[in-house]
Symmetry: C2
Amino acid sequence: MASVDVPVALLGYGTVGSAVSRLLVESADDIERATGHRLRVVRALVRDPEKERAFPADPGVLTTDIADIRDDPSIAVVAEVMGGIEPTGDYVLALLAAGKPVVSANKQLIARRGAELFGAASAAGVQLRFEASVCAAIPVIKVLREALVVTTVHRILGIVNGTTNFILTEMEKGSGYDEALAEAQRQGFAEADPTEDVSGADAAAKMAILATVAFGSRVTLDDVEYEGIESITPLHVAAAREMGMAVRLVGAASLVGGKLDVRVHPALVDRRHPLAAVEGAFNAVMLQGDAIREITLEGPGAGGIETASAVVADMVSVIGTTGTGFLQNDACWRELEPLEPGRLRSPFYVRLDVEDRAGVLAHVALRLATHGVSIGRLVQHQDNGSATLHIVTHEAPAGDVDAALEEIGGLEESRSAPSALPVISDRGVPGLGWA
Amino acid sequence: MASVDVPVALLGYGTVGSAVSRLLVESADDIERATGHRLRVVRALVRDPEKERAFPADPGVLTTDIADIRDDPSIAVVAEVMGGIEPTGDYVLALLAAGKPVVSANKQLIARRGAELFGAASAAGVQLRFEASVCAAIPVIKVLREALVVTTVHRILGIVNGTTNFILTEMEKGSGYDEALAEAQRQGFAEADPTEDVSGADAAAKMAILATVAFGSRVTLDDVEYEGIESITPLHVAAAREMGMAVRLVGAASLVGGKLDVRVHPALVDRRHPLAAVEGAFNAVMLQGDAIREITLEGPGAGGIETASAVVADMVSVIGTTGTGFLQNDACWRELEPLEPGRLRSPFYVRLDVEDRAGVLAHVALRLATHGVSIGRLVQHQDNGSATLHIVTHEAPAGDVDAALEEIGGLEESRSAPSALPVISDRGVPGLGWA
């Protein structure tokens, strides 16, 4: 292949933008060797051209006017690395409408305005790629779309937020939640305001994107039920350890009888399950499907250089193909109904604080049995007139478990309002629920 | 995209060929939706057209004459799923020379005749893809080549043989080697003649291909030093468990100071390391590099339908791109020297059977120290006048450890010839050796 000079542009020139710029310079020989192209940043949209940057742009590259990028016919692809929803979304729409392929690292934008953006890209016949929007350098979008093109994926399980996974693995070492969060902030794994991460919202956006790609039906952030880790205590962590499990914030996207369920929740994961082995700020995504049984990808799910690596790989893929590439731009081709609330099946872990008196276990077991929930494992601890029951149920619909727990919470022996955490223990079984 | 009917052909129509044929029929809608193309098997080369097949071909498809495929201008891509070196290699060369893109699932062919095959593909300006040749449905070639285009990968660690991993995890449950092998044969995870797998030769061919792609320098089977699991006993497995580790057959490809080292050996893997979590016939490949730190892919590394899934994904990729695709055909662009024997650094596990008398530990420690090998952990067991020492060294060159062990084996207190197994315990550290 003859070497071709390819002008490219960036929206944003912060941490990720600087890293993209640096990679394109430092890996220019690698890219040319692999593809025959040399990518050169000729424009970058910024708010303040005077600000100091980690990897300074060449003179004349920085601009504050999107028109300098949109209207430059030489620019072959634009990487959106500025983040935010507005004005970012309108910039991206304008670029696509002007026939510019775009690569985006922005999960909130893709998860919220995906339909509109992919529509604009298809209308203009250009690519919109978004590998870096989910789990940074872990190439889960490429694998789902290109490598698994003939595999019907029916479930995705993921640890897709590094901040919460760091906090949970710190708690396994003995820290309380607040202490673990402070350590995450100190090491740069959590923001000063950690809400987006610890609430599960960040993971929810990523699961919406993964579910959309895997199932071919649009899933937006509003379609994802999520719960964070703020209520996880050392008691949960200790109970998990006692049962050979670990607490993890798990995203689960399931296709059940032609209906969709996408959620993010704390769960108890069996120690021998690959997701339990994911430690610190790492991410992992497990794809379960017909032809492949189960493929798991693990790696760093965040970081400037990791994200930039995925952005550049997408830029290279855009330039190496023509039009919309060899795949349709938008993975969506159908509209699936959501699974009815409470219908998703899973084994559950339940912790009950009760008075230690005769008959209490019979009462609890009866309430569970009434709702068709059977007990798989039970561990009981006594302490000074009170007892703690750790129960792992067999697989049951979440709604039935919740209904039983509401009744159990109303028993006069009950000392707290019990709640259930899903349990993940199987490997590669095309199950119907979380398990 | 308009739908385009695309005639394709197969070399071989056995287990994998039947599965490819079935996938192309059953997933025709999926493929058309994703790519705009409908792939249709119009020819398949077989030795015996009368043989019964798992998924019978359409009438007139089977042929015994390679010319029917080579000279049919309508055939857009050929999948080589017949295996073997000859006549397969010559068929593939003839097809490439005739301008037909080829997808191969044949690790021995790619590992032995890669230079010649890629040369022919480049000369003809057509693609030769080989995802299915390494770890079936785990898309490690696509990830290495396309997703990690700007990452310098400096080490690959892999469990790339399912048979041996199945045997080793059976041994963890208490079986002896022979019993575990018999169970693997009973469950279809091992051949009647298991030599290729248990000797490490199969893993060596896969590591040769992975190292070639990752480092850009040709590595053939002859360049890979390998050792199988035939000498692993329950004693190794028990010692590993005692130290919180597991025995695994690990392939390691390392770039050390600009030199190459590719090997397959039994190793002790820390229980918290992702490779220790790989159980049964599953495979995993860990890629360590600059921008990505560490990405691990895990999944089923064998199986007809899994292999077929990777073959079809490659066929789709070929058809969706033009000429040699957006990457150079051959990943090789330089010639790296092999690392000198014994220079690769690692911590090692050493088991010593010695007489239980005063001074023996001092003798052992002195011999290690003389060769610059320091002891990280030591566990001693006494039993009736003899003692077993379990030693984990700090990182040291393999040659120095071997030299020390030769002297130790010559001590009069020694009761056996000691040998060393590498230990793998770190995560994501750009180390220089196995560790």
